[in-house]
Amino acid sequence: MQRDYLDILWGGLLAAFGLVVAGYAALHYDIGSLRRMGPGFFPVSLGVILAILGGFIAVPAYWRKGDRRPFAWREMLGIVAALLLFAVLMNRIGLVATTAICALVASSVAPGKGIAWRLILALAVTLLTWAIFILALKMTIPVWPWSR
């Protein structure tokens, strides 16, 4: 029997997220009353509502056929890694080196073999980024590893 596993999973995740938020907020913030709401009132109620909605998503999906969609693990990890590298490196080694590394990592998950075109692409992206953000928009970010 086919089930809509994607919706079951997401309904469960959202319900869990809602419960965690509600629990955390209830423990840490004053809920107050309906007349004089405290900072905890909204997060707690929203968390509970989300938990209920998660149930509404997950339960009917149990008896329903869902479509199977491939999850692009490799591509997702590549892009997430590229973004994280950018966040970590930019203020340390400057824009130019960071952009080149980020573009290279991002393009590593692209279809197509070979390293040459990826290097050319990284160089082109770096030049373009420098021209737009430093030359034209004059952003104040370190450009080289030795500048600040």
């Binding site: 430093i134 030359l135 928009l137 004059k138 952003m139 104040t140 450009v143 080289w144 030795w146 500048s147 600040r148």
Partner: protein
């Protein structure tokens, strides 16, 4: 952030001519661009003040002065970012009073101690707040306002720009000194407070004089008093609150902007900057621009600023104690 002061700074930054700053030597300082961290977005009043100072400063020092906007947490992020830099004589900050006087009380994980981690350079400008009410509010002066508030405690409401903001603490200081209890409604911006007073939703608010003036001219708002110790040139008709309605003669509550450095910065550099900035603050054109924004230029020695930080920390600390005890 997308900011530069001069074309030169751009060229220098772009081509990496400016190598990493060597350990600061007071004699050949400055040999690289100065970075000034501002904890508010571009175009905000602390940012405008920083820019108005940065430009003549770059001229007199012969090096670009780059404004780095690091907005957030009421200016605290800007101070934190400045403190994350080396005290090499090239990292400075322009900040409002909050991050140096009240932040350690209001923010649990501040990560710095204003008394030991920050080196004061000079006080740039101060701004009082006016007590504003809608034009049809019964009281016409502060005595009547206080009498009214005594007659109906906790009924006259006032708006502030958030719990712990200058507007909130000023109002609480005023109320406790005058022996009255006002009802606090927090907002996010002076714009919201203004609209709310005009629509009659709230009764009063302590706000920047420049924000109240247009509505006073239009006849929809009144200013009952001002929190500075002398009459403020932008609103010469508004009486000072000090000494009136049971308030002490030394009643004073002002916001201010200051030029600071990370602790450990070469004292010779601090002294030089103090002289340069004080000279810049003498410029009448600059004074006029600041006054239009509601700021009066100050100046003084680094020790004056240190003393100001200390007195204001004690002043607002006491107010925070009192409001916390009430809740």
């Amino acid at each position: 952030m997308l900011t530069t002061i001069s074309r030169r700074s751009l060229m220098i930054a772009a081509f990496g001519i400016a190598a990493a700053a060597a350990p600061a030597m007071a004699q050949d300082w400055p040999s690289a661009p100065l970075h000034v961290y501002v904890g508010f977005p571009a175009g905000s009043s602390p940012d405008t003040i920083a820019r108005l100072i940065a430009e003549p400063l770059a001229e007199s020092l012969g090096q670009p002065v780059v404004i780095e906007n690091k907005p957030g947490a009421g200016g605290v992020i800007g101070v934190q970012q400045m403190l994350a830099q080396k005290p090499d004589g090239y990292s400075f900050g322009v900040t409002i009073n909050g991050p140096l006087t009240t932040a350690q009380r209001l923010i649990p994980d501040l990560g710095y101690d204003p008394a030991t981690d920050v080196a004061p350079i000079t006080l740039i400008a101060t701004s009082p707040l006016v007590l504003a009410v809608a034009a049809d509010f019964p009281a016409d002066d502060v005595d009547a306002f206080v009498a009214d508030a005594k007659a109906r405690p906790d009924e006259i409401s006032y708006g502030s720009v958030g719990k712990g903001s200058g507007a909130h603490l000023t109002a609480e200081l005023f109320a406790s000194d005058a022996g009255i209890v006002l009802f606090h409604i927090p907002f996010q911006s002076y714009a919201e407070v203004t609209t709310s007073i005009l629509s009659g939703e709230i009764d009063s608010g302590f706000m920047a004089p420049s924000a109240a003036v247009p509505h006073v001219e239009a006849g929809t708002m009144k200013m009952l008093g001002i929190t500075s110790s002398e009459v403020f040139p932008l609103v010469p008709d508004v009486p000072v609150l000090a000494g009136k309605a049971g308030l002490p003669d030394d009643f004073r509550a002002e916001l201010w902007n200051a030029f600071i450095a990370p602790a450990g910065t070469d004292p010779a550099i601090i002294a030089r900057l103090n002289t340069e900035i004080d000279a810049i603050l003498e410029n009448e054109d600059l004074q006029g621009k600041l006054l239009a924004m509601g700021w009066k230029t100050a100046g003084g020695t680094p020790e004056d600023l240190a003393a100001r930080i200390e007195t204001d920390t004690a002043l607002w600390g006491a107010v925070i104690d009192k409001t916390e005890a009430q809740n």
